[in-house]
């Protein structure tokens, strides 16, 4: 049975259509395996080979992978929620309530989106602390640390813009307080607040602007920076696995 499946699989991989899409062809040699990674636009961000230690749980606690996984859940559930949500007043609040009480599986998707959002913020922070305490931000990975800080900021902005969308009292006052914090920026604070809200108060314009930021601009930026982040892991010599440097290992401790 398994052999027959494998036979069909290899037959499929030998077809012209398959080979026009996946150029690497058949084979299990190291070269072929490398080519599979190198010749895919998605996989080429990743390294062809990783050290066994780099994929052990101990080194990373898989926090980066888990952050990415929550992001993927948020994209999928977010797109589904968009199908029932109008970013206008007063429909937004009613749509949110409809998702909870009327739409089949709506409450599940909404809660999955909400809890994944909380989890992502938590995981991104945990990832940052893990990288910091393992010293993985050091040369040659300084730039990837910076990309990570950008991703942290994007995560927080995504969280903040999503906060307004239910259009309930909590959302309204949280954004009122948050946007008033922005006014404290010297000279341009009030202007930035005006541009962000599209008015002087949190109103329909603000809701629409936050919706566009939350569903289009910030996710696109996040995908872009996630791609750079992954690609830089490969370019910086893979995941930092730690361990003493040879020079330090050879140094005798003080007597």
């Amino acid at each position: 049975m398994i052999q027959a499946m494998e036979g069909y699989w290899n037959q499929l991989r030998r077809t012209r259509v398959w080979q026009s899409v996946f150029r690497s062809g058949t084979g299990t040699s190291n070269l072929h395996r490398s080519q599979v990674v190198q010749q895919s636009i998605f996989l080429h961000l990743l390294a062809v080979k990783v050290r066994k230690r780099a994929v052990s749980f101990r080194v990373t606690w898989y926090l980066g992978t888990l952050s990415t996984a929550t992001f993927a859940i948020l994209v999928v559930t977010g797109i589904l929620l968009m199908l029932y949500y109008h970013p206008s007043t007063p429909e937004a609040y009613a749509d949110m309530k409809d998702l909870q009480f009327v739409v089949s599986a709506g409450v599940f998707l909404r809660n999955l989106h909400r809890w994944s959002a909380h989890a992502m913020v938590l995981l991104v922070f945990a990832h940052m602390f893990k990288v910091f305490y393992r010293g993985a931000y050091r040369s040659p990975r300084e730039f990837n640390w910076v990309v990570g800080v950008v991703l942290l900021t994007l995560t927080l902005f995504l969280s903040y813009t999503g906060y307004l969308l239910p259009w309930d009292q909590l959302a309204f006052w949280a954004i009122t307080v948050g946007s008033n914090l922005l006014s404290a920026v010297p000279l341009v604070g009030d202007k930035i607040r005006f541009l962000m809200l599209g008015g002087h108060t949190v109103n329909a314009n603000a809701l629409l602007r936050f919706y566009v930021l939350h569903c289009v601009i910030l996710p696109l930026l996040a995908v872009l920076f996630i791609a750079i982040h992954f690609w830089r892991i490969r370019k910086d010599g893979g995941i930092h696995v730690g361990g003493p440097k040879p020079a330090e290992a050879e140094t005798l401790p003080h007597a």
Partner: protein
């Protein structure tokens, strides 16, 4: 021949390529500045569908002497004190939450971060950096009590009717 050419054309330090690159970069910079101005102007709405800052509170006789009336819709307090009428902004000076009048304690309290003010808007406690501003109050030609939420006046200016 080359001598005559150099005599006519002063030697330029820029090659053709450099000149074109500078032109290209220059026009890109001009276009980028234009895009910034364009973007800024596009993002600033020219028409706002926000409620008027001027509030008509109706006839002053509706406010009994000593009354302290909250109007959460417009975010103001209308007070009929012994000295006359005055109006306070109900928007907390800390981070813009709507404050609440507590008639039992005779104070104004903010639910967000716990600032408290007395009936004249003076801060009693909490993180608010400033007292609640006094608003411009006047009588319309029809004799209605009017408040402009956008015009702050110095405290202790009362309207006598």
């Amino acid at each position: 021949m080359s001598d005559t050419l150099s005599a006519i054309e002063p030697p330029s330090e820029l090659t053709r390529r450099e000149t074109l690159v500078r032109l290209g970069v220059g026009s890109f910079a001009v276009a980028a500045c234009g895009a910034c101005v364009f973007g800024y102007r596009f993002l600033s709405p020219n028409v706002l569908y926000e409620p008027s800052t001027i509030v008509n509170l109706g006839k002053p006789a509706a406010f009994s002497a000593g009354s302290f009336t909250a109007d959460p819709e417009s975010g103001i307090y209308a007070v009929h004190a012994t000295e006359g009428f005055y109006s306070l902004s109900a928007v907390c000076t800390h981070l813009g939450c709507l404050t609440v009048w507590k008639p039992d304690a005779g104070i104004i309290a903010c639910p967000c971060h716990g600032s408290k003010f007395d009936r004249h808007g003076v801060k009693l406690e909490g993180p608010a950096p400033k007292p609640l501003p006094w608003l411009k109050v006047w009588l319309s030609d029809e004799g209605d009590l009017m408040v402009d939420r956008s015009v702050f006046v110095p405290p202790n200016q009362y309207l006598r009717t």
